[in-house]
C-alpha cells in the first residue's frame, strides 16, 4: 500500500515537472524582457558573435529594467503598425468565419439534402489540405482579383476555411429535432429557427471555433509571407523574426507582448479550446 502511494507521488511529480518544462519558454521570455541591454549582451554575446563559449542566463536579472518596454511601446511606431495589423487580420477573419461558416454548419446539420455526405467529405478533405498544396490556387485567384499585397489577400481565403464549419456543426448536431419541427408547425420561417433556436444552442461550438481560430491566426506565417510583400502590412508574427540579434532586448519584449493576447485567449477560453479540440474529431 505504501509502495503504491510513493509510486503515485512519483508519477505526479514527474508529470508536473514535465508540464513545467513545457511552459518554461515563457519564463525565458519574461526574464529576458526585463534584462538590461548590457546584461543581455553579456549573456548572449557568444550567440551573437558565433563565439566559442556557451551562453549564460539568469532567471532573475541582476539589473532588471523596463527600458526595452519603454522603447518599444513609446518609440517604435512600426511595432504598433504591426500589432494592429495582426489584430485587424485576426478579427476580420474571425468575423468573416462567423458569418460564412455558421450558416453552412446549420445547413449540414439540419437539412438532409441530396449531396450532403459527398459535400461534407469534400469539406473534410479541404480542411486537411496543407497550405502549400492550395497556395498556388489561392495565389492565382488573388492575383486575378488584384488584391495581392493587401490584407484582403490573407483574410479572404481564411474566411472561407472549412475548419470552423466542423466545430460549429458538432454544436448544431445536439439540437433536438423535435424542437425544430415544433417551431415549424408554429409557423416559424427557417431563418427565424436558425436565429432563435440554432445560434444560442451552438454558442459553445462558435466559441471553440473563435478560440482555436484566434490562436491559429495570431500566429500566421505562411500566408502573409507568400502574399504580402509590403512590410508595413506584415503581422506581428512576421515582424518578430526580423529583429536582429543585436536588438535582442526588443525581441524579448515584442515576444512577450505578442504572447499576451494569445495567453489571455488561452486562459479565458480554455474550456472552449478543449471542447473545440474534441469536436474537431471528425465524427459525424
Amino acid at each position: 500500500m505504501m509502495r503504491k502511494t510513493i509510486q503515485k507521488a512519483a508519477v505526479k511529480t514527474a508529470l508536473f515537472l514535465l508540464g513545467a518544462v513545457f511552459c518554461a519558454p515563457v519564463l525565458f521570455l519574461l526574464s529576458g524582457s526585463v534584462m538590461s541591454r548590457y546584461e543581455l549582451t553579456e549573456n548572449l554575446r557568444s550567440l551573437m558573435t558565433d563565439g566559442e563559449t556557451l551562453i549564460t542566463w539568469s532567471f532573475f536579472p541582476l539589473y532588471p529594467t523596463f527600458e526595452h518596454y519603454g522603447r518599444i511601446l513609446f518609440q517604435t511606431p512600426q511595432f504598433f503598425t504591426v500589432f494592429w495589423n495582426s489584430m485587424k487580420i485576426v478579427f476580420c477573419i474571425l468575423a468573416g468565419q462567423f458569418v460564412i461558416a455558421v450558416p453552412a454548419a446549420w445547413a449540414f446539420a439540419v437539412y438532409p439534402f441530396r449531396f450532403r455526405k459527398w459535400l461534407f467529405t469534400l469539406y473534410i478533405v479541404l480542411m486537411l489540405m496543407p497550405f502549400q498544396v492550395t497556395m498556388l490556387s489561392s495565389y492565382l485567384v488573388l492575383d486575378g482579383l488584384a488584391i495581392m499585397d493587401t490584407h484582403r489577400a490573407v483574410i479572404l481565403p481564411a474566411v472561407f476555411s472549412t475548419f470552423p464549419v466542423f466545430l460549429v456543426y458538432r454544436g448544431f448536431c445536439d439540437l433536438p429535432r423535435g424542437l425544430i419541427e415544433a417551431a415549424r408547425i408554429d409557423g416559424a420561417g427557417e431563418w427565424m429557427i436558425f436565429v432563435k433556436l440554432g445560434l444560442p444552442l451552438a454558442s459553445g461550438g462558435i466559441l471553440s471555433a473563435a478560440v482555436l481560430g484566434f490562436l491559429e491566426y495570431w500566429s500566421l506565417i505562411e500566408q502573409p509571407l507568400a502574399f504580402l510583400e509590403d512590410q508595413s502590412l506584415w503581422p506581428l508574427s512576421l515582424y518578430l523574426p526580423e529583429i536582429s540579434l543585436e536588438q535582442v532586448g526588443y525581441s524579448f519584449v515584442a515576444s512577450v507582448i505578442t504572447l499576451i493576447p494569445a495567453i489571455f485567449v488561452f486562459l479565458s477560453g480554455r474550456e472552449y479550446l478543449e471542447q473545440g479540440i474534441v469536436a474537431s474529431g471528425l465524427k459525424e
Binding site: 542566463w57 489540405m129 490562436l215 523574426p241
Partner: protein
Amino acid sequence: MQKTGLQRFLKKRPSIWQSKYAFFWFLLPSLAGVTVFVLVPFLDVVRRSFVTAVTQEWTGLRNYQIVFANQAFRLAVKNTVRFTFVCLPLLIGIGLFLSVQLSRLKEMQLIKSMFLFPLAMPAATVVLIWKMLFSRQGFLNGILLKTGFVEDGLLPDYMGTGAAFWVLVFSYIWKNLGYTIVLWLAGIFSVSADLTEAAKVDGATERQCFWRVIFPNLKGSLYTITVLSFLNSFKVFREAYLVAGSYPHESMYLLQHLFNNWFVNLELDKMAAAAVCVGMLLFAAILFLQRLWDHEEHI
C-alpha cells in the same frame, strides 16, 4: 374549430425561408467562397501543370517528369515522409502513455493545461528560445557538457547538422502534445466507468484494465489523432522557416520549403505539377482513412 398545426402550416405562403430548399441559402456563402477560392483555381493549377510557366505552351507530362527527377524534390519528399513516420508514432505513443498516467490523477486538469500551453505560443515567439537552446553556444550543449556527454571543443550546432531533424521533431512534439492528450483523455473517459468497475471486481489489475477494456475502445480516437497530427505536421514549417530560413540544413528541408522556394522564384509550372501530385495523394489518403474509419464505426 381549432386548426391543427399542420393545417396552419400548409396555409402559409411559401417564402424562400420556408421552402425545403432553405438549406441552399445557408450553404451558399460558404460554398461560393470555397468554389471561388479553392476549387476553380485548382482546375487552373491542373491546367498549368501541363504547360510551361511563361509561354503557356502545352508540354504534356514534361513538368511531371522534371519534378520527379528533381533532386530537391526527392530530398524534400524523403525528409517529409521521414518526418511524418517518425513524429506521428512518437506523438501518438507518448500522448497515450501520458494520458493514461494523467487519467488516474486528481490534478489532471491543471497538468493538462500545462501541456496545452505551447499551443498558445506563436511560432515567432518560440524561435528565439530554440536558438538559445540548440545553437552551438546554446543551453543544450551546456547541460550535456556539465553531465559529461560531450567534450569541450566538440560542441555540435544542432541546427546545422543532421540533428536539425530531431530539433524539428522536438519542436513538433512540444507544440502538439497538449491537444493529443486532450483527445486521448476524451477517448479514455468515454469508455463507460461500469466496464472498468466490473473488470476490477473480477480482479483485473490496472494494466489489464487498460489493455483489455479501455484500449479496444480507443480505435476511434486513434484515427482522429492520427489524421489531426498528420495535418499539424505540415505546420512545423513555421518554426523551421523562422529558425533556419528558406534553405536550411539538408535534413530539415521539407516539401514546404521546396514549394515556398518555387513560389518565390515563380517556377509555377513545377509547383503546379507537384501540387497536383501531393494534392491527389493526400486526397486519396484521407478518403482511404475515412473509409477505414467508417468501416470501423459500423462494426
